[in-house]
């Protein structure tokens, strides 16, 4: 894939100015995930009220793809029920980033890191 397709402007923009970046004190759910191939780290925080995600934030350090994915993902899950969030899979998150990573299997792992962290958080309750 050409880097023009991979590094679209909105990805770079989200990398520089991420959405929902930071921590939530007293978060009901929290988990940290590492990507062993590159050392990327994503921490997801969730505030849940009446079984609904009322706030979501992410923290850590990573590449443009994992950071953009964390921004879009935390935004997407706000207002959803815990069950709805648990049902989200690979294709949902790849649909959010809207770039074709099918030829970049190692980068798919970057994109999925926030999802893995979230699932870990919700299962840890």
């Amino acid at each position: 894939m050409s880097d023009k397709e991979l590094y679209q402007e909105f990805i770079i923009e989200l990398y520089k100015n991420p959405l929902n970046f930071g921590t939530i004190e007293n978060a009901e759910f929290k988990a940290e995930m590492y990507n062993p191939t590159c050392g990327d780290r994503v921490v997801i925080y969730l505030k849940v009220k009446d079984n609904k995600v009322v706030d979501a934030k992410h923290d850590g350090k990573g590449c443009a793809i994992s950071q953009a994915s964390a921004s879009l993902f935390t935004e997407y899950i706000k207002g959803k029920t815990v069950e709805e969030v648990l049902k989200l899979g690979k294709n949902d998150i790849l649909g959010l980033i809207k770039i074709d990573l099918s030829k970049n299997p190692t980068r798919i792992r970057c994109a999925l890191l926030p999802l893995d962290a979230l699932k870990k958080a919700l299962k840890n309750e």
Partner: protein
């Protein structure tokens, strides 16, 4: 006269296109490319000599055994071991470290003993000792680095009273060349057994294990133009003699009854199972190739390329070089950070221009934690690397900066 263009003719892969662009291969510290002289020897073996070694009494079996065992002698000369019994064929440096850990460490390390390594080690020369210390309730001490990425002089005192010391000859991230001769002297003075990881040094400079004065030394064939799956563990004969086998079966057996088994002589005692025959014969061809060019010439060439890379990268705004600034104190690699851009993104954008570098923690997480960075980018060189490829890297990095507005 060192003719890099002529050398490149021997490496067919260097003519390949990647993403439609000529390959610029700057990841030789991960694995080197292979010359025709090595590829052909491996393919010839399968076409003309293929047979199992040390078993068949037929012609092919004998010829395969002769070619395979000849590599042991070549290797002995290449690193100046005392005799061929000190040369054990293993899969890679990682297996060599594990062989020491299970064959020597489990038997000799006791509760309270001190094991010493350094913060710049590859996981393969760190985790086995960390785990051995845990299993045996031994002390595990780690020598720190200074601001330049060299081992701290005063921390070498940790070697005093140690039972075992493991250190790399050249760091695969910092590039730092350690004074392993001095470290092994400190080990001898205190009675510690020493292991030197030569994975990055053997492809870059002349190796003389007796001059270094180490007890164990290991390296991987695939980083020195040889096929994957080939590697060498050198061990002093008297230490190897005292060790227990690590893997059981086949070649390492002398006699087995229902109740008992006894072991073959060195070096076969540590080579269980059918070995990696064709590829090891390829390792012999790689040694021939390196010796023909000359390790001193290769060292000089890599130093020249490293110096050029250091200079070009230092000129770029936003680039921070990791490790010693002087090419003379380095192996043939340069790791760096580019301000505000993650190494993964750098590698992906360079890849689009056909440039292969490594990004990540390079199997050296303790070092990256110590440097307080999650990952880094690394360009590494070999006897076939051209200055023009460094220019391509710089141009590629300019493009990365443009895309990221860095």
């Amino acid at each position: 006269m060192y003719d890099v263009d002529k050398i490149r003719q021997d490496f067919p892969i260097l003519k390949e296109l990647v993403n439609g662009k000529p390959l610029v291969y700057l990841d030789s510290a991960a694995t080197s490319q292979k010359p025709n002289q090595v590829i052909d020897v491996v393919s010839d073996f399968y076409k003309k000599f293929n047979a199992n070694v040390a078993r068949g009494l037929h012609k092919l079996g004998e010829e395969a055994t002769r070619q395979y065992e000849e590599v042991r002698f070549k290797t002995k000369d290449f690193i100046n071991a005392k005799n061929e019994k000190e040369i054990l064929f293993v899969k890679n440096t990682t297996e060599a470290a594990n062989l020491i850990m299970f064959g020597w460490g489990m038997k000799n390390i006791k509760e309270g003993d001190k094991i010493v390594t350094t913060i710049m080690e590859h996981h393969s020369n760190f985790v086995p000792w960390q785990q051995l210390a845990k299993m045996k309730k031994a002390r595990f001490e780690v020598i720190d680095i200074d601001e330049q990425g060299k081992l701290k002089e005063n921390e070498l005192d940790k070697i005093k009273g140690a039972k075992f010391v493991a250190v790399t000859a050249v760091s695969n991230v910092l590039g730092t060349v350690n004074d392993v001769k001095k470290i092994c002297k400190l080990c001898r003075d205190t009675g510690a057994v020493s292991f030197v990881d030569g994975a990055q040094s053997v492809p870059s400079m002349k190796t003389d294990v007796r001059d270094i004065g180490c007890d164990f030394f290991a390296f991987s064939g695939h980083k020195m133009l040889a096929p994957f799956g080939t590697g060498v563990l050198y061990g002093k004969e008297e230490i190897l003699e005292s060790m227990d086998p690590f893997l059981y079966g086949s070649e390492m057996i002398r006699k087995v009854t229902v109740d008992e088994a006894t072991w073959n002589d060195l070096p076969h005692r540590f080579e269980a199972g059918t070995p990696i025959v064709a590829e090891t014969i390829g390792l012999g061809a790689a040694i021939d190739y390196l010796r023909k060019i000359g390790m001193d010439n290769i060292k000089r060439h890599k130093e020249e390329i490293t110096a050029y890379a250091l200079k070009r990268l230092a000129e770029m705004k936003g680039i921070k070089i990791i490790g010693p600034k002087n090419a003379g104190e380095r192996g043939g690699l340069v790791a760096f950070e580019l301000e505000k851009v993650h190494p993964h993104d750098i590698a992906a954008i360079l890849d689009d221009s056909g440039i292969a570098i490594r990004s990540g923690h390079h199997c050296a997480m303790p070092l990256h934690l110590r440097l307080n960075i999650p990952a880094s980018s690394r360009a590494s060189f070999h006897l076939y690397t051209k200055k023009e490829e460094i220019d391509a890297l710089v141009k590629g990095l300019e493009k990365v900066k443009m895309i990221f507005g860095a």
